[in-house]
């Protein structure tokens, strides 16, 4: 069995590259706090983006989007708030976003949802 963490690491790198191409600037990576973990923290036009990266190698267990449930969303919100409180004073706005990565026949598809709470 492959190491799940290392798979996650690979695709988080991929996600970062994809987002950096879109003009985001990396602020932090794998931020841990008692409420949970956030994969990527980026910024663009003085807005802070907390990004959850989800990878699925096929649709057999549903799309990456379907892996996010209410509990996970709540945890992400709390972690994001924790980060804003403790680490940053400069940014005025922030939002919690999602990047799904799906492998479709050797191609990679990206699914970007800005602000999952809207």
């Amino acid at each position: 069995m492959k190491n799940k963490r290392s798979i996650g690491k690979i695709y988080e790198e991929l996600a970062l590259k994809h987002l950096e191409d879109k003009g985001f600037i990396l602020v932090d990576k794998n931020y841990f706090c008692p409420f949970g973990e956030i994969d990527l923290i980026l910024s663009k036009k003085s807005i802070l983006y907390f990004v959850e990266v989800k990878y699925r190698s096929s649709l057999a267990y549903g799309s990456p989007r379907q892996a996010i449930n209410a509990k996970k969303m709540e945890r992400m919100k709390k972690t994001a708030l924790h980060y804003v409180k403790t680490q940053s004073n400069t940014f005025l706005k922030f939002n919690v976003s999602f990047l799904g990565i799906l492998k479709v026949e050797e191609n990679i598809e990206y699914d970007w949802i800005e602000n999952i709470f809207s």
């Binding site: 799309s63 989007r65 379907q66 996010i68 969303m73 999602f98 949802i113 999952i116 809207s118």
Partner: protein, 512 residues
Amino acid sequence: MYSRIHASVIWGIEGQPVEIETNILRGLPNHIIVGLPSTIVKESKERIKSALKSSGIRYPDDRIIQNLYPANLKKDGSHLDLAMAMGIYVCIVKESYKIVETFAFIGELTLEGGILPIQGVLSLLEGLKTSGVKRVVLPHENYLEASFVKGLDIYPYERLDTLIRDIESNSLKVGSKLVSYEVKERKFDKDFSEVIGQKQAIRAAEIAIAGTHNLLIIGPPGCGKSMIAQRLETIMPKITLEEKIELTKIYSVSEEESPKGLIQYRPFRSPHHTISRIGLVGGGSAILPGEISKAHNGILYLDEVGEFKSDAIEALREPLSSGSVNLSRGGRSLNYPSRFALIATMNPCPCGHYLSKEDLCTCSHYEVKRYIGKLSWPILDRIDMTLFMDRVENSEISNASNQKVSSLEIRGNIQKAITFRQNRVMEAKHEKSTKESNGILDDNILYGLDEGARSIAIKYHSKGKLSMRSLGKLVGIARTIADLACSEHVEKNHLLEAYSYLTNQQMSNFFT
């Protein structure tokens, strides 16, 4: 990705048009329903999802928002499933929206994409008519009932996948014309020919049914009051299509008695005397119709009317005079029709033998007054006819065989009288309109009475025996008797017979 689908919901017994707006936004998978949905409507999201997936539709991994317009009307019922599913479907397959736009959808879905029959189709369709929709897709099993609504094209479907296939090929199939089916003559295990004697009571029953007059039968135990009342069911006239539709609407609101298809016969309701006020006139948290509405266009038979709870009986005052009941609760106000013939029976006193020929009554005058006083005057005043029945005499029993009347005969007479009245009313209307155009108005209460009858009516009234309401009732009963005799004018003997049934006149025996 936006769509708008027509549907309707039930409000009381009437249908209200609603529109289902669907919008699919980018976001995490979620399905939100707004616009005052009940729990049933909220639960429908799971049925819709499963049914669409089983029908080969790729269910969107996005945020689905559905709004039920108008937002202030409470939406209840599983029949919105199909319309909501179509809303999502046309958001995905946009080419179909042009076709689906002009349709309304009604139906409940199963998880594997079947379209299930629903209750209250008639009300829902009437509601859709007001919104201007001309074409409706509904469950196949409801087609028979729905085909009685005029002015709508009905498209019956059994499965969601066939419906979607037909939409995509733009070949929706309108329901085939039905062969008009005959209503079977109803069989009863009772008949008026089983009644020995009591010719006057049978005659009174005939008049009451022919003219939808309320009838109170008073008599000693065992004289046949209930026997006559139970047989009234067998002489009720035919029900018209409009009446059938109205009645079916009422019954489809009450869950436990919801009919399959159209109701074919006039109702005969005989609640037990322990019934509550809400059970009788309707109400409760859901504001359901009561016995009086379920007896609409038929008979409400109250056996031992004195034993009923007095608040239940008193609640009949308004329905008896207006023919409908307005129920309000929790900011909701509904109107149910309740035009029925009230047939009630009771004993004249606690022992039951007061005023009868053979037996001696053991009750004191006070007891008699108190017993009969259980029915208040306002209620008695609304009962057109009162009949005092006595026990059958011996001589009548011995030669009973040669004077029996069957229910079929009586029903024939009543049917004839009703047809006669309809023709007469039509002519009178025509006459009135020509008179009105000539500037002559004739709204006299004594209209249609001949000279002899007119003079008697005026004589009774001038003696102070009759109030204006009673005079109206007297003329009404006399008119029915004249119709039974197929007489154009109300004659003297008709009026005299009517006078003998008048409640005031009969009740005066108890208070002398």
